[in-house]
């Protein structure tokens, strides 16, 4: 698949803009998941994922063809997410937990007249809980944990993506995993 992607990138470099849509199709889910886990909000995650693809296209000339395209697009997406997180610290989302209410979020403050089926609520709650716990991780642990467990990258690939030494990546994964253990042990 990497070979096919490289071929498409060469076509884009020659000016064939349409070849880029193939690349977007191939990576959209992964980039979206990465952004969603980083930012915790569906709409923002989609905006960021789109921004990442546009940015990658604009800078396609600086892409090193010896590199994996995934490494490159993940790096762009991760950096965009970190920038966004830093900018929007004091911001409230409906699905953000309200401090001191133990699991109550803003959705429960809004009267809802459509009841979802029980099991869907349960799986949604589970997803939300996991997302909340990931969101509590400091950003430097969050990005490595996401790349490792959601994108399935090796330590070396994470090190390439984030431009960090492998040992730093390793330490951050260990600390991130410790933090998650403490947060999720009672589930």
């Amino acid at each position: 698949m990497e070979v096919l992607i490289k071929e498409k990138i060469k076509q884009v470099l020659k000016g064939n803009q349409n070849a880029y849509s193939y690349i977007v199709e191939e990576y959209k889910e992964k980039v979206f998941y990465l952004c969603y886990r980083m930012i915790g909000n569906r709409h923002e995650a989609e905006d960021l994922a789109q921004e990442a693809f546009v940015k990658a296209y604009v800078n396609i000339k600086s892409f090193n063809l010896n590199m994996k395209f995934s490494t490159w697009i993940y790096r762009i997406a991760t950096n965009l997410c970190i920038d966004r997180m830093r900018k929007k610290k004091p911001d409230y989302y409906l699905d953000a937990e309200i401090a001191g209410t133990d699991g109550l979020d803003m959705y429960s403050q809004i009267a809802s007249d459509t009841e979802s089926p029980e099991d869907e609520v349960e799986s949604m709650e589970m997803q939300d809980t996991i997302q909340n716990e990931i969101s509590k991780l400091p950003e430097k642990y969050r990005s490595v944990i996401i790349l490792k467990y959601i994108e399935d990258l090796s330590l070396k690939e994470i090190s390439d993506t984030l431009d960090l030494p492998v040992n730093t990546v390793k330490t951050r994964i260990h600390r991130g995993r410790e933090a998650l253990r403490l947060q999720l042990r009672h589930l």
Binding site: E46, A49, Q127, L180, L184
Partner: protein
């Protein structure tokens, strides 16, 4: 927990699948005898498996379409031309050369829509006609643009008429060449020829030295 500190490091190495067989043996031995550490590793594994639960979210169906629509458009044209030029460097250079040269020469031709003649002594100008009067001699070349020339005297040199006519009286004489140029193409040819002549003259005089 009265356990060796490095046991937790071993757990992480184990989870990273980067543990040496020696350390793995030590870890297993310890786990076999320590319930706390077994529990600790279980909690780590549980945390990881939670994080790995796949998202049941899908990107919008128009995701790719929206990305493609937000790509810079002017880039597209520029890149296509650039791509063609990079594919055909010789053709591009030749095309560029022709465009520049013919542009320059044609402007100099168009600029000459007005009547003009190069300054030589003994020339008489009436309306748009240049006259070499009877009994007089013009030393040097004459170039007339957009006008006629009547030669009743003598010219010691070439006579060139662009977009005009020449009348040579029976008494008149020209020692050099007489040329009439009417069309843009000939004008181009004339320019190129004089250019080449100029270069070869320059070269021969230089060689002579």
């Amino acid at each position: 927990m009265a356990c060796p500190e490095e046991i937790i490091d071993y757990m992480h190495d184990y989870l990273d699948e980067e543990i040496s067989s020696e350390k793995e043996r030590l870890l297993k031995e310890h786990l076999a005898s320590c319930e706390d550490c077994r529990n600790y590793l279980y909690e780590l594994k549980k945390a990881v498996s939670f994080v790995k639960v796949p998202l049941d979210l899908k990107v919008s169906s128009d995701f790719t379409h929206r990305v493609m629509a937000s790509l810079p458009q002017e880039d597209k044209k520029k890149k296509r031309i650039k791509g063609w030029m990079m594919g055909h460097p010789v053709l591009s250079a030749a095309a560029l050369f022709i465009v520049l040269i013919s542009g320059a020469i044609l402007t100099s031709w168009n600029q000459g829509n007005d009547f003009s003649v190069n300054r030589q002594s003994n020339l008489v100008v009436q309306n748009h006609t240049v006259i070499v009067p009877e009994g007089k001699t013009v030393k040097g070349d004459i170039l007339v643009r957009n006008g006629d020339i009547k030669i009743e005297g003598k010219v010691q040199g070439d006579v060139t008429v662009i977009n005009g006519n020449r009348y040579l009286a029976s008494a008149g004489s020209v020692t050099g060449e007489i040329k009439e140029i009417d069309q843009a193409f000939e004008w181009l040819w004339y320019k190129i020829k004089t250019g080449v002549q100029g270069v070869s003259n320059f070269l021969t005089t230089n060689n002579g030295k």
